[in-house]
Amino acid sequence: MPTLDAAFSALSDPTRRAILARLVIGEATVLELAKPFKMTQPAISQHLKVLEGAGLIVRRIEGTRRPCRLAKPGLDEVDRWLAMLRSALEKNYDRLDHVLAEMKPEKLRGKR
């Protein structure tokens, strides 16, 4: 994921977040996306360009259609967040082990 800044800025727009939410269901063309969002095709195309540049979606060519779908790196974002949470929690709980060990010297029964 070389483009986290781009992804971050792409995600700052509510329309682009809504487009991503729509693409979770499956592939869609510009035309199919323009309809529910009540936006012009060029406006949607502009948003798709930003999302594509950020590595969040990919587009393929199918005749005259260019359907887009979520890119794998975009989906990995949840895993990245979970990995950050896991890293922080593991460090915390390792420290908590030490705190707990010091909390119960009375239970060590004169060990050492």
């Binding site: 986290l4 995600l11 949840v78 990245r80 979970l82 922080a88 420290r95 707990l100």
Partner: protein, 154 residues
């Protein structure tokens, strides 16, 4: 048995389980007593929590302020909703980075498990925007290396 387990429950919740070699009472106290919280709830190495408010009663306030000692920092506020000594805590929390993230409800259970305690924490998975902001903050604060390392393990 001390290995932490972290899994998602649908796309709404994250559930973390971890065994501790101490009684539920001790683990519960370590989660509610500010003097104890300040010693372990710190995240990446090098961070400290100079301000820790934890009013362990229903409607009691929570405020944790972290600093990296180099001018970086953020804080979290929240409220306790339910407390069942020494088995269960329910609270809400939000991060301020500096804009507040949406409230996250967290339920933490402490169950006797052999001579120790099995802790189960169930929290709301933040929305995509919040995750992006937290990731961006995490990167700024030099957590990149640790989670890139972890990604190779996952």
């Amino acid at each position: 048995m001390s290995k932490m387990m972290l899994k998602t429950e649908g796309d709404k919740y994250v559930v973390v389980t971890r065994h501790f070699a101490a009684s539920p009472e001790s683990v519960y106290r370590a989660h509610t007593d500010p003097n104890l919280i300040q010693r372990w709830l710190l995240g990446p190495d090098g961070w400290t929590m100079p301000v820790c408010i934890s009013e362990a009663r229903p409607h009691g306030k929570i405020r944790y302020e972290w600093t990296d000692g180099k001018g970086g920092g953020f804080y979290l506020t929240g409220e306790y909703l339910e407390l069942e000594p020494f088995s269960r805590i329910v609270h809400v929390e939000r991060m301020h980075m500096p804009d507040p993230t949406p409230d996250s409800r967290v339920e933490t259970r402490f169950d006797a498990d052999g001579a120790g305690t099995m802790m189960t924490m169930r929290m709301t998975l933040p929305d995509i925007e919040t995750r992006a902001r937290m990731l961006a903050t995490g990167m700024e604060h030099g957590m990149e290396a640790s989670y890139v390392r972890l990604e190779s393990i996952l």
